[in-house]
């Protein structure tokens, strides 16, 4: 049943022997011990498990690990390079954009994909880009502000 999968996550190659059908989420969390992506619904309806697949934000809770291996995978952990936070992470801290924080990994990942494509998103574009991500604490206002702030930071260079 188990198969060897070669997968590139956060810039590093990993070889793991797992059930190839096992969704990427469990491979990341349990085999690679990355806590960024989280289980929320298991059917692509909440965004807690968002990761970047070749730079695009996608849920990781359904796609099998084997199928995901064709992409370069990035989790929240991968946005921090040499202990330097991504401007989006910084902006979330500055805006204090979290309550319980469970949704925040997914939010930052979705924002990362958005800001890579669109340097100056409008409020409406930010809302659209985050539409797949649920937050039950109602932190939305601050999350939108954080994404705007991150855009401004990145544009300043």
């Amino acid at each position: 049943m188990a198969e060897l999968i070669n997968i590139k996550v956060n810039g590093k190659n990993h070889h793991v022997t797992v059930d190839p059908e096992m969704p990427l989420l469990y491979l990341l969390r349990n085999n690679l011990r990355l806590n960024g992506p989280k289980y929320g619904c298991g059917i692509e309806r909440c965004g807690s498990c968002m990761v970047l697949l070749n730079g695009k934000a996608q849920p990781s809770c359904v796609i099998p690990g084997a199928a995901a291996a064709v992409y370069e995978v990035t989790t929240l952990e991968g946005l921090t390079k040499n202990n330097v936070l991504d401007p989006i992470q910084e902006a979330f801290i500055e805006e204090q954009a979290a309550q319980c924080g469970y949704c925040i990994s997914g939010m930052i990942i979705s924002a990362k994909a958005l800001l890579t494509e669109n340097k100056n998103p409008t409020d409406q574009e930010i809302r659209q880009a985050l539409q797949r991500n649920l937050c039950r604490c109602g932190t939305h206002t601050r999350i939108i502000n954080a994404v705007k702030k991150a855009a401004a930071k990145m544009n300043k260079g």
Partner: protein, 741 residues
């Protein structure tokens, strides 16, 4: 003096003896986990039996790090930061030198539940008093060391200075890692608000740094050495019983270590998480259940509540039926309804249980570690001292959700797997179907308006199921407890005050009365953020607008005319100033207002809602919510804004979209598709203003917004459309669009 060894030496010692291999345990303040993603440690038990001891609340180690201990839980409300601020303030030390330990029966005092917005009032005051006492104690030591009078001493950043001889000494050199061994007298003078340097400031939450940097550890993220994974199979419907479950198939499923069946409680334990999920699927396919239909059906629910609720009892107000209405008065009457609604945590309930060396340890995101411990003691028949419950933050819970239930699951399953930590996490479907909901409610209000436009009498009748079925020591309150072969029975009863919370108007009416009709409904219910206040304020504040209309008064002025409480008036007038309230009609736009003092004794909150109609699509959008809150002394204004704005958005989601749907076969709201909540495109802009009253007691702020927001939206819809919606959710199909020009 006993050496106080919690923070440094004791930990290592303990670890050596515990059989746990742990590496690199750089301590992250407050979390009690290592920075290595793989390890989490079992902190040494350092509980001090004496609740009055300073050391029960705060401790200094030899490096001058202050540890604050709270029995309350971090639920995303930022309680850790606020409590650290309060302690650092009293002692004049750098907040960076403070860490906090949250709810752990092995370390912290019993502070019951983290609920009802009571943490700042409860734990905050205990910690503040302990810190003040510690300061007094330290000053006496310092005076001796420095050859000065206490009156000549001042403190900055943990360094005591004599203003007589300019000599200094650090707290840590006074304490030297020893215990205070003194009691909190509560007579020590607290710092004067005018001297505050930290309290009242928007100190940033350090836990948000960890969250943004993927370093935070939620209960779902803990990994203990040798940990195994379990999934529980819940019945398809509440009262179903398991007829047969051929376990062979499941047993053979890869990775399965054990299949546990005990009455209607069935679970599978596997080496890997995904294996446990696959085995669960197999189990579900082979299990045969005998179901009992859920009654009454949803369509008959409200009628059934009024018919079958009990005769009612006067619970608030003058507790007498009002005098005969006067001839000149106008009577007005209306009925409001709210459905069952969910907590809907984004993370599903999770717990880890470990049964080792005769000790049961449960890691849990419960709101009450002590009550959960006694409940588990009842469930598994172990004495309290053999059980330890360690609180670890989960996703926001907003009241009593599945956290305690899954703790019970983990306890039962850990006993089946001695020596191995058993991690149980619920599947989303189970979270939706099995959490205890906020109860449906029916509210009838009757009031009398005199010719001067004043309300002279008011009567509310409430029909509701309980708003509190927290376990509190009774295993029958846990799902697992009810499902065992020898089931524990659920003893409901003890309908708490939750149902009539905020039903009594704060307004000055000649007579006011509230009657509560308890009703045992078809669905499982318990505490959801603000309990009955949400439904009660929805009705009360909607009805105030109906009365104002009848009286021909501006709804805001109408409220002010009936209020004498100055703080109440001030949140309202501040909101008016900030938003420029007027009733000028703008086509397609509606404005609504509402106000309440939470529990009639905590935070004051006023809110304005603005809605915009889309006539072509026959729908509306909530554009903006503006709130003003007075929660007395604001410990951390930004924290209050964050929570309040969050409460506003959540309450708007409840109000506009949410109701638990069910049929006789079970709960139909079993996913985010079938129980939609706000997504980004639904969310209004929010703005919150805080009225800080440094000279007054701090009041809990976390639940103040829930009720008023619902009525403000209903009032705004009425303003825009002329339709008075009295049943939540306020969906656009309930609006009479033919009246909308």
């Amino acid at each position: 003096m006993k050496q106080f060894n919690d923070i440094k030496s004791g930990r290592r010692e303990f670890l050596r003896g515990s059989g746990y291999l742990l590496m690199g345990f750089t301590l992250m303040p407050g979390l009690g986990f290592t920075t290595e993603p793989d390890e989490c440690y079992l902190p040494e038990q350092t509980l001090i039996a004496d609740r009055e001891a300073i050391d029960s609340w705060i401790r200094f180690d030899a490096d001058g790090i202050l540890t604050v201990l709270t029995g309350k839980m971090e639920l995303g409300q930022g309680i850790r930061t606020a409590l650290m601020q309060m302690a650092a303030e009293e002692l004049d030390i750098d907040i960076k030198k403070v860490r906090i330990i949250i709810a752990d029966t092995g370390q912290t005092q019993d502070e019951r539940y983290t609920a009802g917005s009571g943490s700042i009032e409860g734990s905050g005051n205990a910690i503040r008093n302990a810190a003040a006492e510690a300061r007094k104690y330290l000053m006496a030591l310092a005076a001796k060391e420095l050859g000065s009078n206490v009156a000549e001493l001042s403190v900055k950043n943990g360094i005591v200075k004599s203003n007589k001889n300019q000599k200094t000494i650090a707290y840590k050199d006074l304490v030297k890692g020893k215990r205070f061994e003194a009691e909190v007298s509560e007579k020590s003078e607290l710092k004067k608000p005018a001297d505050y340097k930290l309290v009242g400031k928007s100190i940033k939450r350090t836990d948000i740094n960890d969250i943004a940097a993927a370093k935070s550890r939620f209960i779902q993220d803990l990994r203990l050495p040798d940990m195994v994974h379990a999934r529980v199979m819940r019945p398809p419907v509440y009262k179903a019983s398991l007829v047969s479950l051929p376990t062979e198939q499941v047993q053979k499923s890869p990775g399965v270590l054990k299949v546990v069946v005990n009455g209607n409680f069935a679970a599978v334990i596997a080496s890997q998480e995904y294996e446990s999920m696959k085995a669960l699927e197999k189990m579900k396919q082979t299990a045969k259940w005998e179901s009992k239909p859920i009654m009454p059906l949803q369509a008959q629910l409200y009628a059934d509540m009024v018919q079958n609720g009990n005769a009612g009892e006067m619970v608030e107000g003058d507790k007498k039926t009002s005098k005969k209405p006067s001839e000149s008065a106008v009577m007005l009457e209306a009925e409001y309804k709210r459905p069952y609604q969910m907590h809907g945590s984004i993370g599903t309930s999770c717990a880890i249980g470990l049964w080792k060396d005769g000790q049961l340890t449960i890691w849990s995101h419960t709101q009450g570690v002590y009550p959960l411990r006694s409940t588990i003691s009842d469930l598994v028949n172990l004495p309290l001292e053999k059980i330890r419950v360690i609180g670890v933050p989960g996703a926001g819970c907003y009241g009593h959700n599945g956290a305690d239930d899954v703790g019970g699951d983990a306890a039962l399953l850990a006993l089946q797997m001695p020596g191995k930590p058993v991690r149980v996490q619920w599947m989303r479907e189970d979270e939706h179907k099995w959490e205890p909901y906020g109860s449906a409610m029916v509210l009838k209000i009757k009031a009398e308006l005199n010719p001067e436009g004043k309300v002279t009498s008011w009567q509310t009748d409430i029909w509701s199921d309980t708003h509190s079925s927290r376990p509190g020591g009774k295993a029958g309150h846990l799902i697992a407890g009810q499902h065992l072969e020898k089931p524990f029975t659920f003893e409901g009863g003890g309908f708490s005050g939750g149902s009539h919370r905020n039903s009594l108007p704060l307004y000055d009416f000649e007579t006011k009365n509230v009657a509560l009709h308890n009703y045992k409904g078809p669905l499982r219910t318990s505490a959801l953020r603000s309990l009955g206040a949400y439904g009660n304020i929805f009705a009360l504040e909607s009805f105030m607008d109906e009365l104002a209309l009848k009286a021909g008064k501006d709804p805001v002025q109408f409220r002010l005319d009936h209020l004498t409480d100055d703080r109440a008036k001030e949140v309202i007038t501040t909101l008016v100033k900030k938003t420029g309230w007027d009733l000028k009609k703008e086509p397609g736009i509606g404005k609504g207002f509402a106000f309440a003092q939470y529990k009639n004794n905590a935070s004051y909150f006023a809110v304005k809602a603005e809605v915009k109609l889309d006539r072509a699509a026959q729908t509306y959008r909530l554009v903006k919510l503006t709130g003003v809150i007075d929660s007395g002394q604001a410990i951390n204004p930004d924290g209050i804004i964050n929570q309040t704005s969050g409460g506003m958005i959540q309450a708007a989601s409840w109000t506009m979209l949410e109701q638990v749907n069910y049929s006789s076969d079970g709960i139909e709201s079993n996913s985010w598709e079938t129980y939609p909540i706000f997504r980004f495109e639904d969310v209004p802009d929010t703005e919150v203003f805080v009225i800080d009253r440094p000279e007054l007691e701090p009041l809990g702020a976390g639940e103040a917004a829930q009720g008023p927001v619902s009525a403000a939206i209903a009032n705004a819809i009425f303003d825009a459309t002329g339709s008075r919606l009295r049943e939540i959710p306020l969906t656009p199909d309930k609006i009479d669009w033919s009246k909308v020009s």
